[in-house]
C-alpha cells in the first residue's frame, strides 16, 4: 500500500503566508486565553480535596447537593465522573491533621443517599500545590533549554531557534485549548505538555535532518532557493509524517475514549499537541529557517568545506600511517 507517490515536490512553502497568519492568530488567541481566562486548576496545583464516590445505580446530583447542605461539605462542587452513578466532590479546604478522616466524614454526610463506595480521596495541601507548580514550570524550561542546546549543537543555531519557536507554538496552542475547553489542569496535563515538547521536536528534527541531507546530497544545491529545498524535503518525508501522526493519533484516541476518566486530560492535550506538533514542523519551523536567512549556498559551501577538511585529514592520516609502516 502506498499513499504518496509524488513525482514533483509540493509547493508547501508557497502556502506559508496564509497558513502562518492562521498560526499567528491561533497563538495570540491562546496566549489571551492562558493569561486572561486562565485554567481550571486541579487540586494538584490549586490544593484542595477531591472525593470520588461510586453508587450502585445512577444518582441525582441535585439530591446530593440538598443532602450536603447542612454539612461541612455544603460548599463542595459535585460533578458526574465518567458515568451517572459515579461522582466527585471537590473541596477547597484541606486538613493538615493526619488523623482526620475525610472519607469517614463524607460517608457520614452522604448517609441515606443510596449504596455507595468511596473510591478515592485526594488531598493536596496549599504548600505542595505551589511547589508542584514551580517544579512544573522548571521542568518545561529545562526541557526547552536542553533541546535548544542539543539542536544547536547537532545542527546550527538557526535550526535550534526555529525548532524552539515551533515548540512554543505547539505548547501554547495546546494550553490554550485546555483553557478554552475548561479541561482541568492537573499533573497529567502537565505531563502531556512535556510529552508534546518531545513529540514536536521529534517531528521537527525529522524534517530538519532531511533539509540538511537534501542540501548535502544535491550536487547543484546552490542553484535552488531554500524554499525549494524545504518543499523537496517536506514532500519526501510527508508520507512518514502522515503515517506517524495517524498511528500516534489513533493510539491516543483510544486512550481518550477508553482509557478512563483519570487520564482524560492527558489524552485530550495529547490529541491536540500531536496534530499541531506535525503541522508546526512544516509550517512554522521550516519558514523560520528562511526568515532567519539560512543560506543554501553558504550551507553547501560549509558542507563542502567540512567534507574537504575531513578528506584532507584522512589523507594525512593515511600518509602518516604509511610513513610509520
Amino acid at each position: 500500500m502506498e499513499f504518496f507517490r509524488a513525482k514533483k515536490a509540493f509547493n508547501l512553502m508557497g502556502l506559508v503566508k496564509p497558513i502562518f497568519t492562521f498560526s499567528l492568530i491561533v497563538t495570540l488567541i491562546s496566549f489571551y486565553l492562558i493569561f486572561h481566562k486562565g485554567f481550571v486548576y486541579g487540586i494538584d496545583f490549586a490544593g484542595g480535596t477531591v472525593v470520588q464516590v461510586k453508587y450502585d445505580k445512577p444518582v441525582q446530583i441535585d439530591a446530593l447537593r440538598e443532602k450536603l447542605k447542612n454539612t461541612p461539605f455544603a460548599s463542595a462542587g459535585i460533578q458526574e465522573f465518567g458515568s451517572s452513578s459515579e461522582i466527585i466532590l471537590r473541596l477547597q479546604n484541606t486538613t493538615a491533621d493526619v488523623t482526620k478522616d475525610t472519607a469517614q466524614q463524607v460517608s457520614t454526610a452522604l448517609k441515606g443517599t443510596g449504596n455507595f463506595e468511596i473510591r478515592r480521596v485526594d488531598m493536596v495541601g496549599p504548600k505542595v500545590g505551589k511547589e508542584l507548580q514551580t517544579q512544573g514550570i522548571i521542568a518545561l524550561l529545562v526541557s526547552v533549554i536542553g533541546i535548544l542546546i542539543y539542536v544547536a549543537f547537532r545542527f546550527e543555531w538557526r535550526y535550534g531557534v526555529a525548532a524552539i519557536i515551533a515548540l512554543v507554538h505547539d505548547v501554547v496552542i495546546t494550553a490554550g485549548m485546555v483553557s478554552l475547553f475548561n479541561v482541568e489542569f492537573d499533573l497529567t496535563v502537565l505531563a502531556a505538555l512535556l510529552t508534546i515538547l518531545g513529540f514536536s521536536i521529534n517531528d521537527t528534527i525529522v524534517i530538519f535532518d532531511r533539509i540538511r541531507e537534501t542540501i548535502r546530497d544535491t550536487k547543484d544545491a546552490s542553484r535552488y532557493s531554500l524554499a525549494d529545498i524545504i518543499n523537496e524535503s517536506v514532500t519526501n518525508t510527508l508520507s512518514r509524517t502522515i503515517l506517524t501522526v495517524a498511528t500516534v493519533f489513533f493510539v491516543i484516541l483510544t486512550l481518550f475514549l477508553f482509557g478512563g476518566e483519570i487520564i482524560h486530560g492527558f489524552s485530550f492535550a495529547m490529541l491536540i499537541g500531536v496534530i499541531f506538533g506535525a503541522y508546526s514542523s512544516i509550517f512554522v519551523a521550516s519558514p523560520f529557517l528562511i526568515w532567519f536567512g539560512y543560506d543554501v549556498a553558504k550551507a553547501k559551501a560549509a558542507h563542502a568545506d567540512k567534507a574537504r577538511r575531513h578528506a584532507e585529514k584522512e589523507k594525512m592520516r593515511a600518509q602518516f600511517e604509511q610513513g610509520i609502516v
Binding site: E2, A96, V124, V142, A191, G198, V206, F250, I252, F258
Partner: protein, 536 residues
C-alpha cells in the same frame, strides 16, 4: 519432512544484530515473566498505588517543636541536677527557645558552671546569678535534621510492627516524608494506620503540684505558669483537670520497653520499663515524694495520677486507660518505637480504593490493546512483511520495557502506562522512517540489499536525533517531577532507549537474516508494500 524444514531454517543467516535481539528477547522474557504472572519469585514491576489501591501520604515535620522539646529536656535535666547536688534553683522555666533560672546561692556558681559545660550545643548567658540557656544555631540545625531522620525511622518501625505489606517510608526534599501503604484496603485500616503514624507517643512523668492542685478548677494557664505549673486534661474524663509541674521528671526517651498487659479487672494496660538513668531519676523522685501524686502523661493528656506509696526502684510503670486490645497494642508499638521528636502534619494525601485501581487497569489495558491492534493492522496493511517485522520488534520492545523496569524495581503507574503506549508509537515511528527510506531507494532502482542497508544508514542520524531530544524531555520530567509524573518519565525514558534498540538494531538484524529470501523472492509488494513499475 523434518529434514527439509531444517534446511529451510538454516537459510536464515545469523548476524550480530539478530544475535543481540535474540539475547535481549530471552533476557526480556526471563525478567518480565514474574511481572506478568505476578508470582512472588523474582523481581517484578510493582504496581503504583493508583493501580493497586492504597494510601499515599506526604508528611511535613514541625521541626520547630523539636527545639522546644529539647529545651524542655534541658530544663528537666537541670532541675534533676539541682536536686541531686543540693544546688538551689529558683524560677526555673522553659520557654520556646530558652531555659531561664536563678541561682540562689552564689557559692554554687562553680558547680553549676562545670555542669553547664557538659551540656552540648548550648550557649549560657549568666549575670548576677540569672542564667539564660539557649541552643547554638548549629545545634538547632542538627536537631531539625535529626527530627526528620528520627521521624522517618520511627514511622518505619511502627509500620513494620503494624504488619502491613511493603510499606514505603522515604525522605522527600529536605523535611518531607513520603509514606506509601499499598496494603491498605479499607477506610478503617487507613484510619488506624494514620493514627499510628501520627501519634506523638510522647510519654512524660510529671509531678502533681499538691500545694495548688486544690484550686485547679479556678485557675487559668497564666496563673498556673506563675507557679511553674501547667494544666492538663484527663484522658478519660475530659472535664477533670490536673495541675502538674511544667518541667517533667522524665520523658519517654528513657523508655526501654512497652508491652500490653492486663490489670486485675482483666482490662488491657501498657507496662513500660525505664533504662538505668531513668530508673534512678524515677527512684529519687518517688523516694522523696511519698504521699504525693505522680501524673502519667501521654501526648499531653493525663492517663492516671496515682499516689506514690513508697519509693519505686525497679524503673517500671503502667499506663491504664479505657483501651481495646487493638488500641493498647498500637499504643505499645508507638511507645516502643519511640516518640516523634517533632509532630508531623499532612501535606498531601491520596487514597485509592482497590476497586478503582482494578478499573483503571482494565480501562488502560483495553485502550492499550485496541491501540496496539490498530497500529499492527495499519503497519501490516501498509508495509506487508516489513510491517510484521516492525510488529515483532514492537512486541519485544514491550517485553523489554517491563523487564528493565522489573530489574530496577520501578513502579508502574497509570501515567506510566500512558508512557508505554507513547513509546510504542515512537518505536513504530522509527520503523516507518526506516521503511520509507528503503522504499525510496527501491524506487530509485537500488538493489534490495543496497536499499535495506542504505535505508538504515539514511534513517540512522534522524532517529538518533529525534529520540535523544525526546529523551531530554523525559529526563527533565524525571528530575523535576514527583509521583505520577516521575512514573511517566521513567517509562518514557526506558521506552525510548529500548525502542532505539529494537526498532533500529533489532529489525535490521531480522532483515539481514532474511536477506537471501527477500532477494530471491523479489516481490517488493509483499515485503515492503511497494509496487515498482515494470516489475511484478
Amino acid at each position: 519432512m523434518l529434514k527439509t524444514q531444517w534446511r529451510e531454517s538454516t537459510r536464515m543467516k545469523l548476524n550480530y544484530r539478530l544475535v543481540l535481539l535474540i539475547i535481549a528477547t530471552v533476557f526480556g522474557l526471563v525478567f518480565s515473566i514474574p511481572s506478568f504472572t505476578q508470582s512472588s519469585a523474582g523481581k517484578k514491576v510493582t504496581l503504583g498505588l493508583d493501580l493497586q489501591g492504597g494510601l499515599h501520604m506526604l508528611l511535613g515535620v514541625k521541626t520547630d517543636e523539636a527545639v522546644t522539646s529539647q529545651i524542655k529536656s534541658i530544663a528537666s535535666a537541670l532541675k534533676h541536677f539541682g536536686e541531686r547536688n543540693d544546688v538551689l534553683l529558683d524560677a526555673i522555666s522553659a520557654q520556646e527557645d530558652r531555659v531561664t533560672f536563678e541561682l540562689i546561692d552564689a557559692d554554687d556558681a562553680k558547680t553549676m558552671d562545670t555542669y553547664l559545660k557538659t551540656l552540648e550545643g548550648t550557649i549560657v548567658h549568666a549575670s548576677e546569678g540569672k542564667y539564660t540557656i539557649t541552643m547554638t544555631p548549629a545545634a538547632i540545625e542538627k536537631l531539625k535534621v535529626r527530627a526528620v531522620d528520627q521521624a522517618i525511622e520511627t514511622i518505619r518501625n511502627r509500620l513494620d510492627q503494624f504488619g502491613l505489606a511493603e510499606p514505603t517510608v522515604a525522605r522527600q526534599g529536605v523535611d518531607k516524608i513520603l509514606v506509601e501503604l499499598p496494603g491498605i484496603k479499607t477506610p478503617q485500616e487507613e484510619q488506624r494506620a494514620r493514627e499510628l503514624i501520627s501519634r506523638a507517643a510522647k510519654l512524660e512523668l510529671m509531678a502533681v503540684d499538691e500545694d495548688h492542685a486544690m484550686r485547679v478548677n479556678e485557675m487559668n494557664e497564666g496563673e498556673a505558669a506563675t507557679y511553674g505549673d501547667k494544666i492538663l486534661e484527663d484522658a478519660l474524663q475530659p472535664q477533670l483537670k490536673h495541675l502538674v509541674n511544667e518541667i517533667p521528671i522524665l520523658d519517654g526517651t528513657m523508655l526501654t520497653d512497652a508491652h500490653v498487659g492486663y490489670d486485675q479487672n482483666n482490662r488491657p494496660v501498657i507496662n513500660f520499663s525505664l533504662n538505668s538513668a531513668g530508673a534512678q531519676i524515677f527512684g529519687d523522685f518517688t523516694g522523696k515524694s511519698v504521699g504525693k501524686r505522680l501524673a502519667i502523661v501521654l501526648d499531653g493528656k493525663v492517663y492516671s495520677a496515682p499516689v506514690i506509696n513508697e519509693r519505686i526502684g525497679g524503673g517500671s510503670g503502667q499506663i491504664s486507660g479505657n483501651y481495646t486490645v487493638a488500641e493498647a497494642n498500637d499504643l505499645a508499638i508507638a511507645l516502643r518505637s519511640g516518640a516523634l521528636l517533632a509532630p508531623i502534619y499532612m501535606m498531601e494525601k491520596r487514597s485509592v480504593g482497590p476497586s478503582l485501581g482494578a478499573d483503571s487497569i482494565k480501562a488502560s489495558l483495553f485502550a492499550f490493546a485496541t491501540g496496539a491492534a490498530l497500529v499492527v493492522l495499519f503497519m501490516v496493511a501498509y508495509y506487508g512483511y516489513a510491517g510484521i517485522i516492525a510488529t515483532t520488534a514492537m512486541v519485544i520492545n514491550i517485553i523489554l520495557i517491563i523487564a528493565v523496569m522489573a530489574m530496577f524495581g520501578a513502579t508502574l503507574t497509570l501515567p506510566g502506562m500512558a508512557g508505554i503506549v507513547l513509546t510504542v508509537g515512537m518505536a513504530v515511528d522509527g520503523n516507518v522512517i526506516i521503511n520509507e527510506r528503503i522504499r525510496e531507494l527501491l524506487r530509485e532502482g537500488a538493489k534490495v540489499r543496497k536499499a535495506i542497508e542504505g535505508g538504515y544508514d539514511n534513517a540512522f542520524s534522524t532517529l538518533v536525533d529525534a529520540n535523544l531530544t525526546t529523551l531530554i524531555a523525559a529526563v527533565a520530567l524525571y528530575m523535576y517531577g514527583t509521583g505520577p509524573i516521575k512514573g511517566f518519565a521513567v517509562t518514557l525514558a526506558v521506552g525510548i532507549l529500548v525502542s532505539m534498540f529494537t526498532a533500529i538494531l533489532g529489525t535490521h538484524g531480522i532483515f539481514s537474516a532474511l536477506m537471501e529470501q527477500i532477494e530471491k523472492s523479489g516481490k517488493m509488494n509483499r515485503w515492503f508494500g511497494i509496487r515498482l513499475e515494470g516489475k511484478e
